[in-house]
Amino acid sequence: MPLKDFLEASKGAIKEVTIGKEGKSATIGGEAVLPFHNFEGNLPRLPVMALEVWDTTPPETWPDHLRSHFGDVVNSPVLWAKKCLEVYKADLICLYLASAAEGEPDAPALAAKVKEIGDALPAPMIVYGTGEKDVDTLVLREVARACAGDGLLLGPVLKENHKEIAEAAQEYGHALIAQTPIDINLAKELNIKLSKFFPKERIVIDPLSSALGYGMDYSFSVMERIKQVAVLFGDDMMKMPIIANLGRECWRAREAKENDQQGILWEAITAMTMFLAGANLAVVGSPDSMKLVKKLLGQFSTGQIEV
């Protein structure tokens, strides 16, 4: 029996989404195979990793072993982001608008700050709002306008606020993160709704990523099925790449906070698992766990696995 009889026939390729603008951009997706199945067809690139930066000083509840990587720079988002890129070699930055969750946000001022941070960096930027629908509508629309033409990856947009935010992202040339609560049918539904007026090539799916021990298996199943539906069934509404925003989830876990090694492994295992499930982009908090996962990815691409 020839080898090809055992291979899955692909019916579709994941869309390529480019984040950023000329001179500083990153592209994700493009694969016509299930995750890492480069023996079955075209796998143009490996998943990429973003380190998360907060627009405000992180909370006291952050464990010291996570904070210690950044030292004083946690007080300056620009310096923090630069350290992530220059010292820790993150592929890109994910700016979390934590300040917007603290009471009434001053949207124009916040948007100006996001613009300033983005302009100071040599890499493209993801911007995550609070996940609260009204706050995000207000803030992300303002951010979209202030950063016109910068090609941010902006989100999350939810069923409840997708229209308002997507209109601004459409007008000012950004890509969007479409977020649904660990439900593949609702993920498709939101993609259909967005696709009516927003280009599919600028949508990234966030099916919600839970941490190891806190429901990671559910996230895995949804991502796995999204990739099967897109690649094996060729479903046009599911061919968007996937983002796994898992850093904050992991560092909320008691086990990750307990000690340094455990924390690194908690986040690295979660990230690697999400990649195996089909994530094209992961957002993590610790440079050490990122390094560990990148090492594994590097070994995959060279075929030299060392333990």
Partner: protein, 290 residues
């Protein structure tokens, strides 16, 4: 297709209020209208009836005053069930027993005692089985037990349990496979299921098309009966052979992939719905719009 009308259900405010006040008129009206609409059986769902098991006796007698249809007595409470069975004029249907130990102990023996038909679901103490093979395994065990206590396959209506498509589409698809297996694993047994549960959670105005087409699909796979909304007149027409062109198109869409883009709106909707129900296209609430 034997249609069991589901509209006398304790979850309906109108029904619940009438039962509470022992007001026969709204319930008799619902029973008559269902029979006129084409329901073969009238289902009487009184919920668990923990405080008031005699309610089933009252409801059976109330409904029998105005309709001749056989009744499907729908409660998990064996005391309420027996109170109803004792006064049924026509051979009733017990809705339902299962492979759970308490059901085998308290409910199934009633089918033997009153020599009536009984719906047996694939539920066991381990929960609802998750695929066709484990459904088959579960029901075979329960049927073997039912046979031992004197219930023949001919009196058993197997319920494979319908899941909402928005929760678990693959399980909806699996039911076709299960129906194909049923004649081998339970020769002579009948089948039924709660059809409307499939479209639970779907946009309200689109539930009908999902329900109707699924019923045509499962009928083709041998389904004997279904618990349905009696007032879905299009469904009744489909089941009574009055819409042969639709049935033909549904069958053709089951057998081959038809491009809905080439069809007029009504036909395109049928084909798109078949594609979702056959598992060819991932379900979303907007499945008709793409």
């Amino acid at each position: 297709m034997i249609l069991i009308g589901e509209n006398i259900h304790i979850l309906s405010n109108e029904v619940s209020e009438a039962i509470k006040q022992r007001n026969p008129l709204p319930l008799q009206d619902l029973a008559k209208k269902q029979a006129e609409a084409g329901a073969d059986y009238i289902d009487l769902n009184v919920g668990p009836a923990r405080k008031d098991p005699d309610v089933m006796r009252w409801l059976v007698e109330t409904v029998q005053e105005v309709v001749d249809s056989p009744l499907s007595l729908d409660t998990l409470n064996p005391v309420a069930m027996e109170a109803g069975l004792a006064v049924c004029k026509k051979r009733p249907l017990i809705n339902s027993a299962s492979g759970r130990e308490d059901s085998k102990r308290d409910m199934l023996p009633l089918a033997a005692k009153y020599n009536c038909d009984v719906i047996i679901s694939v539920l066991t103490d381990k929960g609802i089985p998750s695929d066709a093979a484990s459904r088959a395994e579960a029901i075979m065990e329960t049927i073997a037990y039912a046979n031992e206590i004197g219930i023949d396959n001919e009196n058993i209506w197997v319920d494979p349990i319908m899941m909402p498509i928005g929760v678990d589409q693959p399980q909806v698809v699996e039911l076709m496979e299960f129906m194909d297996m049923l004649p081998d694993i339970a020769p002579g047994a009948k089948s039924t299921l709660g059809l409307s549960n499939m479209s639970n959670g779907a946009p309200h105005h689109l539930r009908g098309i999902l329900n109707r087409i699924e019923l045509v699909i499962l009928q083709r796979h041998g389904l004997y009966s279904a618990i349905v909304d009696s007032f879905d007149s299009e469904m009744v027409a489909l089941m009574r052979g009055e819409k042969q062109a639709d049935v033909d198109l549904i069958y053709r869409a089951m057998d081959e992939e038809i491009n809905p883009a080439d069809l007029p709106p009504h036909e395109a909707a049928l084909v798109k719905t078949v594609n979702v129900l056959m598992g060819r296209v991932l379900y979303s609430h907007s499945w008709l719009e793409i």
